[in-house]
Amino acid sequence: MATTIERRAEEAEARVAGREPRLPGERRHVLSRAALYTVLSILGVIAAVPFVWMILASFKSGSELRQIPPTFWPQDPTLDNYTTILNDPELPLALIYRNSLFVAVTVVVATLFTSSLLGYVFAKYEFRGRQPLFWFVLATMMIPAQVTMIPAYLILVQLGLLNNLWGLVLPAFVDAFGIFLMRQFMLSIPDDEISSARVDGASEWRIYRSIVLPQLKPALATLGMLTFMFHWNAYLWPLIVLTEQSKRTIPIIQTWYATQHTAQLNLVMAASVLMVIPVLIVFALSQRWVVRGLTMTGTK
């Protein structure tokens, strides 16, 4: 489905592009195009430099990184940093990846389920109090994390859920932003199929599962990617909840590691590169869906 949408979009672009030369002001147009690409490329380089620099730095030796003035390209590229951190017994990377993956994946699955279901209900059902309830859900987005984190922490202490990954997962099961996104997306899906399925005697759950859910794919991919990224990179709440090294997630370990090795940015950078890889993979897999997913929601 993505491919057809993509192809259609590209065809449309090609069509517009093909017509361009026939438009007035051709020369000015070519010039302004060139300027456009130049500006975008310059900005793109600026945006990319710190990221690229992180990757390059992970292949430099510690002494090269301490050099004054600094170098940009590694003078003597080395994989030592990676072998060092992969063999560091103080840095059990496999375990920490597992913790982070458990949290991110569980939350993604739960959020996709609850958001699509609630978004569907808010978009396609008429019931008393729908509007105020939806506004209530939206309003919860305005509650800063800092307000709830103190009582939340005290509750975790009482439940003995400190140092437990469920302490990160449980509060994230329902996501107001996800409900909002799904509902907006759902509004663009016509009702006909749903009503005809009803006429055929399908149950409400069945309609959700076999008619609604398949059509939500772009929105699910978008929300899934954003949720994964958010929880993979989450910092404040895991910092408060996870106090035991073996239970911690990647960003916490990353700061811990960085403060342990402030003098060895080469290692810190290698660790940072390893930590961003899973997000890059998820992004690469969902990338083509994201813009489509957002396009079809009411964020326009």
Binding site: T140, A145, Q158, L159, P171, D175, F230, W237, T243
Partner: protein, 439 residues
């Protein structure tokens, strides 16, 4: 991130919440339990995470088990930051372990939930005779003893000296310095600049701990005090404090250090020294093993040299040290004390732990004779510290030591050295803010 973060919400079901709320802080902390002899006992021991500390304790626990087969000690470790957090919430809730590793300075703020040392284990006087004043000071709250230190935590008294850099600058620091002027001249000789910017600082003392310990220690050396005898008020705006300030300011003025480029967040002293961006640096001896594997050459060239003094004796402020205490909720306090006695009061075991962890001894006997020689053989950089241990004065049972150190003293001292605040204002502000912590 863009997603408004409404997920940091509470955990838990209402039922559990209101059910458990009933146990909130209502623990009875009076029940001192005793376990019958020979009954199998498992004691939990909480400690902060530090590889050599933890291994040292595990070894002693194993040894203890061979002597007392019925007792098992289980270590549970926490990262330093979260350990504080865990203690602060667990103790009032009564969910802590039987034996708690404490940093001496914290002990008194938890005293309500800790068990006093039984008189047959040790009295206050006996403990004061056994341990140096500074480390034991943290374990005595209102004349009641709550535990014993394992180490002497020290941050002031000697400075790291990079002998290679010293030699290159024509400086011989091995004999120490007779006066601050001599010291400053050598530090200046080791300072390097490029286009008037310091690229290598002569003496880095402007990290948070370094600056605060320097300030308070210099006050003591010039014959002053900052904490009233009854421990309920601060007097910081004194002539002695001004003398301390003048000395610190002179090092900035003479270009040995630039407090804007070298402080706690920029070029922290440990990093700065081992990266050779500082020739000398003020930080306790624990720092050397931390960097030795990554910077072996600098570590080899490192020696600690005692700093000059402002008065006659090298008095300094010290912060107690790590040690062991017992929870008032423990059902087997007698066994817990037996173990602590075994670890901290036994001279040989205490010395073995110091050797295993690279810490300075808390016990007076272990700072002399064979125990001292053994430690120096393994940790040559300890040598300069032994002669001054006896001059350490415990900082006192402050209401909130971290608050005084990092939110009050350090910011004002640094700001004054950077020229953003006058010395008068800094002293006055420190005094009033410090006294506010007694509220």
């Amino acid at each position: 991130m863009k997603r408004p973060v409404m997920r940091w919400q509470a955990i838990g079901l209402t039922i559990v919440l209101f059910g458990s709320a009933c146990t909130f802080g209502s623990q009875d902390s009076g029940g001192g339990g005793t376990a019958a002899p020979d009954e199998p006992v498992t004691l939990r021991l909480w400690t902060h995470r530090n590889k050599s500390f933890n291994t040292g304790l595990k070894d002693l626990a194993a040894e203890f088990k061979t002597a007392n087969p019925n007792v098992t000690i289980e270590l549970e470790t926490f990262d330093y930051d979260s350990y504080i957090q865990t203690l602060q919430t667990a103790l009032p809730a009564g969910t802590e372990a039987d034996i708690l590793q404490m940093f001496g300075t914290w002990t008194c703020s938890y005293a309500d939930n800790l068990a006093p040392v039984p008189a047959d284990v040790s009295t206050v006087e006996e403990a004061q005779a056994t341990f140096f004043d500074a480390p034991i000071g943290g374990y005595i709250c209102d004349d009641v003893l709550y535990g014993f230190p394992q180490e002497f935590n020290i941050e002031y008294g000697a400075t790291l000296v990079n002998t290679t850099l010293a030699e290159a600058a024509g400086v011989d620091a091995s004999a120490g310095w007779a006066s601050w002027d001599e010291f400053k001249a050598d530090a200046k000789a080791m300072t390097e600049t490029r286009d008037d910017v310091i690229t290598r600082a002569g003496y880095h003392f402007t990290a948070a701990d370094g600056l605060v310990y320097t300030f308070f220690s210099l006050i003591l050396q010039s014959g002053g005090q900052f904490l009233a005898d009854d421990g309920t008020s601060f007097t910081i705006d004194t002539p002695e404090a001004r003398e301390a300030f003048d000395l610190m300011m002179s090092m900035v003025d003479e270009g040995i250090i630039d407090p804007e480029l070298f402080n706690d967040t920029a070029n922290w002293v440990g990093d700065c020294y081992f990266e050779e961006a500082c020739a000398m640096g003020l930080v306790g001896p624990w720092v050397v093993p931390e960097y030795a594997t990554d910077f072996p050459e600098v570590a080899d060239a490192t020696s600690y040299v005692a700093l000059p003094t402002l008065g006659d004796t090298p008095d300094f402020v010290a912060d107690s040290g790590w040690g062991l205490t017992v929870s008032a909720n423990s059902p087997a306090q007698n066994v817990a004390w037996e173990f602590i006695e075994f670890v901290t009061l036994d001279e040989e075991n205490a010395a073995a732990w110091n050797a295993a962890t690279g810490t300075l001894p808390a016990q007076r006997v272990n700072a002399e004779g064979a125990a001292q020689e053994e430690l120096i053989a393994e940790y040559p950089h300890f040598e300069a510290w032994f002669p001054i241990l006896q001059y350490g004065q415990y900082v006192g049972n402050l209401p909130d030591r971290d608050l005084l150190w990092y939110e009050i003293a350090y910011p004002h001292l640094l700001k004054a050295l950077q020229g953003g605040e006058s010395v008068d204002d800094a002293l006055a502000a420190m005094e009033s803010e410090a006294n506010d912590t007694f509220r």
